[in-house]
């Protein structure tokens, strides 16, 4: 069974320090959630694991082990070959390719043979019927949520051992978000470890066994998901049980806009 160990990981984009000495463990077969505000470094953390920092002129120090094997220093393709698959932030579907070809592209990194690929495809279609219906439409024309589904399905095509999810429920309707949550659990049940970056902390903490909270590049909190869910800090900032209070606050506009804006007249 696969385990991911991240030790003292620091990442910088040129002058910008995005991560400082971050250590994270993703135990085998578990779901590990990573929470954090904008710019906390969640995406950066995933990029470091999938070795795609290079695309952003990012540089990292520290070690990343998967099954005891060093991932740092590998090329992205080798990481994929090792069974670590990332669902990138913001969909990133191949807009000009058909939905079907997007899924085929996903299968390129698959370790299994034709049969497993076929099986994976059936499963994806079962999960997201719309992808079957739109198989020959160009992915760029899909709606935002449909693209999110495609991104997810594409990753599943590779038959991952460790799945890195960057805000999978982003832009999904509640129903679909719930569906994704189930899916993640299923996949995990089939023995795939999952590292889950979610803004929707509620979902994340419900799914995860352990969770980490990143704050401006450092691990602020970590521990069993349940405990974190109970901690005030997390409740206020991440769960904050948004759904109840956010708008209430909004109407009262506390801690809202720093300065009021007057009408423009010219």
């Amino acid at each position: 069974m696969a385990t991911l160990e991240i030790r003292d990981l620091s990442v910088g984009y040129g002058p910008v320090r995005a991560l400082r000495d971050v250590s994270v463990d993703v135990p085998a077969g578990a779901i590990t959630a990573v929470l954090g505000g904008n710019g906390a470094g969640k995406t950066t953390l995933l990029r470091a694991v999938s070795r795609t920092l290079g695309f952003h002129r990012g540089t990292s120090t520290g070690t990343i082990r998967f099954d005891g094997r060093r991932l740092d220093g590998l090329r992205p393709a080798q990481v994929v070959a090792a069974g670590v698959i990332q669902v990138p932030e913001g969909r990133q579907v191949f807009a000009r390719m058909t939905v079907a070809d997007n899924l085929r592209a996903g299968a390129l990194g698959a370790r299994g043979g034709r049969r497993t690929t076929a099986a994976a495809l059936d499963r994806v279609h079962a999960l997201f019927p719309v992808l079957a219906r739109r198989a020959h439409q160009r992915a760029g024309l899909l709606s935002g949520g449909e693209q999110q589904m495609l991104a997810m399905g594409r990753a599943l095509m590779a038959g991952p051992r460790l799945l890195l999810l960057d805000e999978p429920s982003l832009g999904l309707a509640p129903l679909m978000a719930a569906r994704i949550a189930e899916t993640v659990q299923e996949i995990n049940a089939d023995g795939t470890s999952v590292m889950l970056v979610e803004q929707n902390a509620a979902i994340a903490l419900r799914l995860a066994t352990t969770a980490y909270v990143l704050d401006v590049g450092e691990v602020a909190l970590s521990g069993p998901a349940g405990e974190l869910a109970a901690s005030d800090e997390v409740r206020r900032r991440y769960l904050g049980v948004v759904d109840e209070t956010a708008a209430a606050d909004a109407t009262r506009a506390v801690d809202g806009p720093s300065r009021p804006l007057s009408r423009w007249s010219a």
């Binding site: 695309f55 952003h56 002129r57």
Partner: protein, 368 residues
């Protein structure tokens, strides 16, 4: 990514005392440079003056191309065509009807300064005529569509004999302003004999300065922002209220006018138009200029132009004293080849090591 964007940091305004202090040494540099340029005709010989004039013309043209390709992301390989329109337009407008080598040449015989102005407008109009296509196509498609202009241009230059003089080209009437004629009749200024090149130097300098000043203003101002928006995200630009088609057409016209001005200047330096000159190679050279210098910036265009057009001159001139390079006919690398090697290598190397071109450091936080 372009003047326009960096402008945000530079533009003077409240809350930016830093820029003020920045400006001072800058201005001194500028002054020194300007004085040097003004003094050159008194010290350089005709060869270098001519080289300089070619460079200035190229710079003007490159600024125009950079507005189009660098700042608006419209790849154009037809720049040479608009240069030709400018050059020939000037000849036709300013030249007298005449016959040479049995070819009847028609000309309007307008005052030369007027002809120059009209020629620039004419080039702009030509650009305007092409804008239905320019407004439609994107990227490589536009690039090669504009390549068609080159071939059309060449064909017209060679076949519309009575206007263009066909393969003979046309004699270029010397420019005259306020009764002063920029021709080869010798005028002695401070014990230096002034001929066409010495004289032309100053109008050329003026044209370049004006052109650069104008382009900079455009790029740093509202239009520049709109152009960048069109380049970066067409649909978003439209939604932000930018009339995309109009701006694409507009910038095409503007860049054609720059090309036209460059064309007029070139014609005046050549003293005779040569149809072969306005071919594809020229267009490619202009593209190389803006990449070498730096896409989307005025300074970039100027530096790139100077580099590309002066390099071969320097190499051939000093070929005997350069290692490896050997005088033609003696075997080994001819200066012509050497400069082509260097120029090719420069294009590659600049993009390799200075993605922003000679004039700008690497773009910040580059992703993708």
């Amino acid at each position: 990514m372009s003047e326009a964007t960096t402008a945000g940091a530079k533009a003077p305004g409240p809350g930016r005392p830093l820029t003020a202090s920045l400006r001072r040494p800058r201005t001194h540099l500028w002054l020194a440079g300007a004085l040097l340029l003004l003094a050159l005709p008194f010290y350089l010989d005709r060869f270098w003056l001519q080289a300089g004039l070619f460079a200035m013309a190229a710079a003007i043209g490159a600024i125009g191309l950079n507005l189009l390709t660098g700042s608006t992301g419209q790849l154009s390989m037809g720049h040479a065509f608009f240069l030709a329109v400018g050059a020939y337009g000037y000849c036709v407008l300013a030249g007298e009807s005449s016959t040479q080598n049995g070819h009847a040449l028609s000309g309007l015989g307008l005052p030369t300064w007027l002809a120059a102005v009209l020629a620039v407008l004419l080039a702009g109009a030509a650009g305007g005529l092409f804008s239905p296509i320019a407004g439609r196509l994107r990227g490589a498609y536009l690039g090669i569509a504009t390549l068609a202009l080159i071939f059309i241009g060449q064909h017209v230059l060679f076949n519309a004999g009575s206007l263009t003089g066909g393969f003979n080209g046309r004699p270029v009437p010397p420019l005259s302003l306020f009764g002063f004629t920029f021709d080869d009749t010798e005028v002695v200024v401070a014990a230096v004999p002034f001929q066409s090149f010495e004289k032309l130097w100053y109008p050329a300098l003026l044209a370049l300065a004006a052109g650069a000043y104008f382009a900079r203003g455009v790029l740093r101002g509202r239009p520049g922002r709109a152009l960048n928006a069109v380049r970066d995200h067409r649909i978003a630009a439209g939604v932000m209220g930018v009339p995309v088609a109009r701006y694409r057409a507009g910038v095409f016209v503007l860049s054609s006018m720059y090309a036209g001005l460059a064309g007029v200047l070139l014609a005046l330096v050549f003293q005779r138009t040569v149809p072969e000159y306005f071919g594809m190679v020229l267009s490619l050279e202009y593209l190389a200029m803006i990449v070498i210098g730096g896409l989307g910036s005025v300074a970039g265009a100027v530096v790139g132009a100077a580099f590309v057009s002066l390099l071969p001159q320097v190499l051939t001139h000093y070929s005997d004293s350069l290692p490896l390079v050997s005088a033609p006919g003696t075997g080994g690398v001819a200066p012509g080849e050497a400069s082509r090697y260097l120029y090719g290598a420069a294009v590659v190397a600049v993009v390799l090591f200075l993605p922003g071109g000679l004039t700008r450091p690497k773009k910040p936080g580059e992703n993708r």
